[in-house]
Every structure is written in C-alpha cells, then in structure tokens.
C-alpha cells in the first residue's frame, strides 16, 4: 500500500504532525480564560436531579508547555507544601488519586484554587493571575491521569521512584465506610 501511494503516506504524516501544534504552542500573554464564578457546582448532588451546568473546557488541557509551567508553579507557590511534590498528599489531600472532595472538572478545580476551601485550602483569587491558575488546573488534572499522557510532563524535577508521573496509574482509594 505504502509503496503504491507515497503521496498518501506523506499526507497522512503531515496531518499527524499538525496534531502536535497545539501541544507545543507557547502562548505567553493571554488572559487565560474566564473567571469562574461562585455558581460552579462542587458536587453531582443538586436539587431536582437535573444537571444544568455546561462543562467548562480548561484552556490548557492539551498544551504540554502550559502544563509544565503548572508543574513549576506548583512548587513556586508552595502547593507542594501541603499536597507534596508530585501531589501525593501530606497535610493536604492527595491529588494523584480518584477522590475529589470538591470535584475534578476544570472549573471546579479552578474555583477551589481561587476561592479556597474549608479546613486549610487558602483562597488564591487575588494572588495568582487567571492564566497561571488555569496552568495549575491542567497540571493538577494531569497528576491523576485525567489528561492524555502525550501532554503530561513525562519528567519530574524532583527525584522519584518507578515510572515517570504521567505514566503512573491513578491510585484508587478504598471507599470509606
């Protein structure tokens, strides 16, 4: 097949390469999406049982550069102070498992960072620009395998054992009785 239509192969390869554009794009200056308001639902439970919220797409979920920026900011802004380097959890909850107290959707994580949460999570609303919050959102989502491996940082800046962070399976926590 490939020997008969080399043009097709070239075309297919170029189309494949196009897919990499978004992944590597470095957008330095942009507002970084909307500010999420207090109306972002934090759980699936709601009166009437009908979901009304439309899911918000995180602007950087498919951008490797922004996610590695998020990885850097996670250290710089001392998220690692409570959630541990790599998000394994310490006095703050682990971010590498499948337990999400306030939701795992991008806008839910955004509002968790911006508004803070009871029992220790500070509100960073006035302190971190939206663009950087969205970079953190995508990095946090990458920690538990919510994002494709192709965009997750395959190398951590800290020492680690075993597989690189992006290739680990998310830890499944036993359900509390």
């Amino acid at each position: 097949m490939s020997s008969r239509c080399p043009e097709l192969v070239v075309l297919a390869l170029s189309l494949l390469a196009l897919g990499g554009c978004e992944r590597e794009q470095r957008r330095f200056s942009e507002p970084g999406g909307s500010t999420v308001t207090v109306t972002t639902p934090l759980s699936d439970i709601r009166a009437g049982g009908v979901a009304v919220a439309t899911p918000v797409k995180a602007p950087y979920d498919d951008n490797a550069y922004a996610i590695s920026e998020g990885q850097r900011l996670f250290q710089w802004f001392n998220c690692a102070g409570c959630h541990a380097t790599g998000g394994g959890g310490a006095i703050g909850p682990a971010l590498t498992d499948d337990v999400w107290i306030y939701g795992k959707a991008p806008d839910q994580i955004f509002s968790t960072i911006v508004q803070g949460r009871p029992n220790g999570m500070p509100a960073f609303g006035a302190r971190i620009p939206n663009q950087q919050v969205w970079q953190l959102v995508s990095y946090v989502r990458s920690l538990s395998g919510e994002l494709p491996k192709t965009v997750s940082p395959s190398r951590a800046d800290a020492m680690y054992f075993g597989k690189p962070p992006a290739e680990r399976e998310p830890v499944t926590q036993p359900v509390q009785p």
Partner: protein, 313 residues
Amino acid sequence: MNTNALLSGGPLSAEIGQLFWIFVGIAAAVYVVVLAFLVVSLRRREGARAAPPDSPAARHAVRAIGIAVGLTTVILVVLALSDFFANRVIAATPENPLRVRVTAHQWWWEIEYVDADPTRRVRTANELHLPVGRPVQLEMTADDVIHSFWAPELNGKKDLLPGYTTRLTLVAARAGDYTAECAEFCGFQHANMRVAIVAHDPQDFARWYDAQLTPAAEPVSPELQRGRDVLLGSTCVMCHNITGTDASGVTGPDLTHLASRRWIAAGALPNDAARLAAWISDPQGIKPGTHMPATRLDADDLAVLTHYLTSLR
C-alpha cells in the same frame, strides 16, 4: 553596556589579556616565518633537482628540519607553560575574600552576600557591588538550567550548574561600572540576562552594604501607603520579597531596594518610573517568555504602585 575582554579592569583579566597577546604574538610570528619559507620555495629556479643523499646539501636540509622541530617544541612548551601559570593565578583561592552566592535563574541573577551573622546577609538581584582591591569569591549555582557568568573585564567565563557549586574570583582594580552577561544559551531570554557590576571604594561599599541591610522604607504619605496596599493585595507577593512588609516570596528578585538598582528585568530596561510601569503591566511584551505574569491594574493603582516601588531606595 559595552564590554571589552581586552580592557582589563583587574589583575585576573590582565592575566588573561597577557596570555592572549602572547598567543597572538607567537602565532603571528610563526605565520610570517611559514609564509616566508613558502615564498622562498615557490621562487626557486624551475628544474632544480633534489640533492642526492649523503651530499652536504642533504645533510644541511636534515639539520634544518631538526632545528625547526626543536623550535616548534620549544614554542609549544612556552605556550603550555604560560597557559599553566596564567590559570594558576586565575584559579588560586584568594585570602580573606568577600563571599557572594550567585544563583542563576531563567532569566535573572540572584545575588546573596554571605556573612557568618545572618542579620548581616544582603540579598539582591541583577546587581553586584564590589569593594575595589578586595578579592570577591562568587559561589555560583543554577536553579533550573545551565547558565554561565562572564564579566569580560574582570575574569573569564564560568558555568553555573544546577545542584553543583562552581567558584569564580573577581578583583576590580579601579572603581567603576562593569557588566556581566549569561554566556551559555539558557532559553528564550538568554540575551536579556545581565548583571550590573559596580566597583566602589571600600568606604562607599560599606555605605552601600549598610543601606541594603535596612528594611524597606515605611510609606511617608497616604499615596505611598496606598501603593504598598496595592502591592500587598496583588499577585506581586507570590514571588517577590520586600523586607519589612508581608511580601515574602522567594522565587522572584528581591524588591526591598529596587529603586537603588540601575536596571530592571536583568538589564532589559533602565530603571525609571515609566519603564517600571510598562514592565509591570506587560512583561511578556518586553521580555517574551519571562516567568513574570502581567499584572492587570487600573491606571490609578498602577501609578501609586509605581510611585511606591520607586521610593524603595
């Protein structure tokens, strides 16, 4: 900002300059001699025959080759020795040096003066002040990628490696301004990564040092007070430290005495109020890729913030 490696500002760079001229002088002499022999051989009569072996002419030629090989060996040994002795002077551990810790970041320099007394440590950025005559030992490392420190008028280059400390000695022979640059490609803004080096007389240096030890000036007017409130309520505090206030970030340059510095953004802009305001509102337009995000403030807040920052002498 022009630097000239052959304009020596101290004994160490003078050593390098001397070595340079020895190499250039010898290489030029060898070049002239080789070309002269080439010209002579080209101008020889056509049809001249090689002398038969064992003739006096052949023995003469062999002796000439022997002398040339011997001379070449002597020249190479002289060059190697002059290199060795120059390096010995440059790499010697100085006695009683002023110790300064230099950490390279993408894309700025963190400068910390080491003192046994923690209250006498000075932390600043992108500006290195030296006392004239006293050797200064830089203990250098990098935070992210490999950088290289090069102050051509004071000494040679030295790389800064993450997780490893390299040392470089600087001695300034006369008071004045010098510049160091990053000499190892380190990313987008490698070209905008300079250190302003200021060599003072020892008394002036002590005065500068004591001024740097003081906390930031307290606001003396309502406007300055508002400027500080804007700063403490904005994104600045996540990365920057201003001693004497609640701003205590460590990942960005220390701003305690920002207004006393010559440049902002590691040599990208001269330090004045208008450029500072432009830098705060659009750092990515001035230095694309820098880790400083744009801070969105209304015109009034930006004005009082800039006013406060320019008061931090």
